[in-house]
């Protein structure tokens, strides 16, 4: 065999994306849990346990990503080596890491207690566990799987079908974990039966292995036809390959059984070891709950420093402002085809999509870096802001009207395709922000007028981070309340969110004024469960109770309905919105009527409307992601085009070519459907939890929820249908 061929064979590595991601995630979870549990049980969890577990994951990855996997269809010996690793190397290493408790301890306590707890307490599951962790079951399962998958028909099926091949590997690993469990007895497992029983246990498994290996080694014909019919590589005939595979199973496979057998025998015969082993088992008990530390984004080195920096927000706003100016200039003086102009590309393809993604993974990043705030700051400094915003205008109704007007005009005037109109829209925005906040005190434009801001406020109710006080005791002792009143160096919250009573992200622009103003460094940007905000109904600073705010409920409804109508417009303009709105109102009304004797209709309407938010935001994300993924490469030529149109000779001329979408069509569809699935499930979960708050028992809760849930299912089905339609390629230049 030449060096070139050998080199080519050894460079045949694959990168199984999902398996690699899964293994990495498992490693991170284990390490997190291991660190937690090591604080209370350093003797039970020494570093070698972590090394064993991580080593097991690494060897597992090697088995499925190395040339062993690539060559398994050509060489039986490669395939048998892979199986040997999956059955005899990976399981003991993983179990030596005693992974059960660290993996579970890595999960949030609420997930363990409320999510998994009921399952853990279920008796049928206990019985199943008791059965499958019994040594007899583990022995039979492993050996039956081992023999069954080596029957030629099953083996050939796995060679032909990647799906069955994956099932085969899962069977080997899963049953081998059960087989090795009574041998390793990872903490907190307690041995069942005598330890002496492990000797025949291992000898028996070795006999089965020897039998199969002998069949392969001594057979005078090729047992698996694929290897006989396919190409032979490295000059090995199919029969010799088969004999080599048998020898490998026989010799190496036996070593994996006989070494632990010898180890167990020696331990059993040593009285000192017996005492130590018994002592270790007695030590095993479930550790008590540990007070969890909250993850504060502001503690991160780079992001935290930027957000806390006095000029951090201004720096972000300046970049956004420069981009907005460029969009306006190009909108007026550049190429007037939307897909070739920055005004058609930057706001509608990029900013919208990134804004919604940011809401889902981080928070209200758009308002944090809002470009419209810079001229408003200028207006503030003129010192003309003496008027108070009228009390009767202190609601979301103006903003809702403007939001509806915007959604309608966006389609009616095809703003996305007319750069000049986009430029006018931005100018109007700048002017409105400047005028309102020049003459009125506070941040009234953000709080009561800005439609974009309201979209982000509502969307941020699902964001995984929120600004909160680190310690309420510190707030109680505080006498200056700088977070809201401000100090000489730093103003307080202009949106009147008083930190001790602030709950959730509504009306929060993430401006960080409160963080910078607090003299006690008592405010953090903490990770929270994304739906937590919608499950509670406390009295919120400057907002009141959600259940009393019809305007906020209406805002969420507009956002949800617009998600479907806007996406529908891309595939087939029609009157969907009207019907869907009717459906929502009808369901809300029916739900309210169902429990009218127990509570007010207004409360039910408000809370159940807000519960629709996950589905609406998922629809927005699925829709806007489509434009981002298909038009991802448009910014570069649009920039070149803008420079050329404006007479700036900075770049080479724009090169307009059709570029493949960032993701294949089926992958993009998967992501979109997964988003909708997540939205549906979160919405139904919220609905169920809300229904439980009103109903006296589960039956009434189901009755209360049913009409509303039916409407949600219809909306979800509509969303799926829309995603399956060919969508207009807005913002994408197709071979002009």
């Amino acid at each position: 065999m030449s060096d070139g061929i050998s080199q080519a064979a050894w460079s045949s590595w694959s990168f199984p994306f999902w398996a690699t991601t899964g293994l990495l995630a498992t490693a991170l979870l284990y390490l997190r849990g291991w660190r937690k549990i090591r604080r209370t049980r350093p003797l039970t969890f020494p570093p070698w346990r972590a090394w064993c577990f991580l080593g097991g994951l690494l060897v597992l990855w090697f088995a499925i990503a190395s040339p062993l996997d690539t060559l398994d269809g050509l060489l039986l010996v490669a395939h048998m080596t892979q199986h040997l690793i999956l059955m005899s190397v990976v399981p003991p290493l993983l179990l030596l890491g005693a992974p059960a408790v660290p993996l579970l301890r890595s999960l949030p306590r609420s997930v363990l207690r409320d999510g998994l707890g009921p399952f853990f307490r279920a008796q049928p599951l206990h019985r199943i566990i008791h059965l499958i962790t019994h040594p007899v079951f583990g022995w039979l399962a492993m050996n039956i799987a081992y023999i069954a998958w080596h029957v030629p028909q099953a083996y050939e099926l796995a060679l032909r079908s990647p799906g069955w091949h994956a099932v085969e590997h899962a069977c080997f690993l899963g049953t081998s974990l059960l087989f090795w469990l009574p041998i390793i007895q990872p903490w907190p497992t307690v041995g069942r039966g005598s330890r002496w029983a492990m000797l025949p246990y291992l000898v028996g498994a070795d006999l089965v292995n020897t039998g199969l290996a002998a069949v392969l080694s001594f057979s005078d014909r090729v047992i698996y036809p694929s290897y006989a019919a396919g190409p032979r590589v490295f000059g090995i005939s199919a029969l010799r390959d088969q004999a080599a595979a048998g020898a490998l199973m026989w010799v190496i496979g036996s070593i994996f059984y006989l070494v632990p057998l010898a180890g167990i025998a020696i331990r059993l015969l040593s009285p000192q070891s017996r005492r130590l082993a018994a002592g270790t088992l007695r030590q095993g008990s479930i550790p008590g709950p540990q007070p969890g530390r909250r993850f504060d984004l502001l503690n991160l080195p780079l992001i935290g420093r930027l957000l806390r920096w006095r000029y951090g927000r201004m720096a972000l706003q300046s970049v956004a402002f420069a981009a907005a100016v460029l969009v306006i200039v190009d909108g007026f003086f550049g190429q007037q085809m939307g897909a070739m102009n920055l005004a058609g590309v930057l706001p509608w393809t990029y900013v919208r999509a990134f804004g919604v993604i940011a809401l889902l993974v981080l928070g209200n990043i758009f308002c944090l870096s809002c470009p419209f705030m810079l001229p408003r700051e200028l207006g503030h400094r003129l010192g003309l802001a003496r008027l108070k915003w009228p009390r009767w205008l202190r609601s979301k109704w103006i903003a809702i009207a403007l939001l509806i007007l915007f959604f309608w005009s966006y389609e009616a005037f095809a703003i996305w395709d007319h750069p000049q109109r986009t430029a006018w829209l931005l100018i109007a925005y700048f002017a409105a922000a400047f005028l309102v906040d020049t003459f009125f005190r506070g941040a009234n434009f953000c709080k009561y007028i800005c439609p974009l801001g309201q979209f982000n406020f509502a969307g941020s109710l699902l964001s995984p981070f929120t600004l909160e006080a680190k310690s309420h005791a510190t707030c109680e002792r505080c006498t200056t309340h700088d977070c809201i009143t401000g100090s000489q160096q730093q103003r307080g919250c202009e949106l009147q969110l008083y930190m001790p009573q602030k709950a959730g992200n509504m009306d929060c622009t993430l401006c960080m004024d409160c963080v910078k103003a607090c003299p006690h460094d008592n405010i953090g940007l903490f990770a929270i469960a994304p739906v937590r905000d919608l499950l509670r109904d406390p009295v919120r600073s400057s907002i009141g109770k959600f259940s009393a705010r019809i305007d906020i409920a209406a805002l969420v409804l507009v956002l949800v309905l617009a998600a479907f109508v806007n996406a529908w417009w891309m595939v087939a303009p029609s009157a969907l919105g009207k019907y869907l709105a009717l459906a929502v109102l009808l369901a809300a009304a029916v739900t309210a009527l169902a429990a009218a004797h127990r509570s007010t209709r207004k409360e039910l309407f408000c809370r159940f409307s807000q519960a629709l938010l996950p589905l609406g935001l998922a629809m927005w994300a699925a829709h806007l992601l489509f434009h981002l993924i298909t038009g991802w490469a448009t910014l570069d030529p649009a920039l070149h085009q803008a420079a050329a149109d404006l007479g700036w000779h900075l770049f080479a001329p724009a090169h307009w070519v059709t570029v493949q979408p960032l993701l294949p069509a089926n992958t993009l569809l998967s992501v979109q459907l997964l988003l909708l699935d997540a939205g549906l499930l979160l919405t139904l979960y919220l609905g169920w939890r809300l229904a439980q708050q009103w109903a006296t028992n589960a039956g009434r809760a189901i009755l209360l929820l049913l009409p509303w849930a039916t409407m949600v299912a219809v909306a979800y089905a509509t969303g799926v249908w829309i995603m399956l339609q060919p969508m207009q390629m807005r913002g994408v230049m197709m071979n002009p």
Partner: protein, 173 residues
């Protein structure tokens, strides 16, 4: 509760073992031609409309040694409809198995297709062809059904969760 810990760990770890296979797929053709022995693999199997991965291994006919550097061209054409044939040059970089060369071909219609391979190396060249059947693509439909049924499964699991929870709290008989 202690007894359930192994189950959770077992589930998490077993999922990690199911990985996608490398290229290759099922063997469509294994034949001697000229100075070569040529093997053509195709994935998915059976072939369906849409993209398919085709990989070719070329060996020296007399010694059986794998040849890494031949120029390979593949032409695919439907037999039933008059469509222009696609000709693609295979590349080593596209194959995970570096002993092969691979390409992606799009089968646009259902039915019989003819695949013609031309292999050249130095002064030697060989041509052979084979037929294959392309079936309708169900991957999109499968994918949509999977994502529609996924929430149904999770909802069922949640229902069981709630029943267990309410039963343990004594709210359900």
């Amino acid at each position: 509760m202690k007894a359930l810990y192994p189950l959770a760990a077992w589930l998490i770890l077993t999922i990690g073992a199911t990985a996608a296979r490398g290229d290759g797929g099922a063997m469509l053709l294994h034949q001697d031609a000229g100075a070569f022995t040529i093997t053509l693999f195709a994935a998915p199997q059976p072939l369906r409309t849409g993209d398919a991965d085709l990989s070719v291994m070329v060996q020296d006919r007399t010694s059986g040694e794998v040849l890494l550097d031949p120029a390979i061209e593949l032409t695919v054409a439907p037999e039933s409809v008059s469509a222009a044939p696609q000709t693609v040059r295979l590349a080593k970089g596209q194959a995970i198995n570096r002993l092969m060369q691979a390409c992606t071909v799009q089968f646009s219609t259902v039915g019989k297709w003819r695949l013609t391979l031309v292999v050249r190396r130095g002064n030697d060249s060989a041509q052979l062809s084979t037929e294959c059947t392309v079936e309708p693509d169900r991957s999109r439909a499968t994918l949509v059904w999977f994502y529609i049924l996924l929430p149904v499964g999770i909802i069922l699991l949640f229902v069981i969760h709630q029943v267990l929870k309410l039963r343990s709290e004594g709210k359900v008989p």
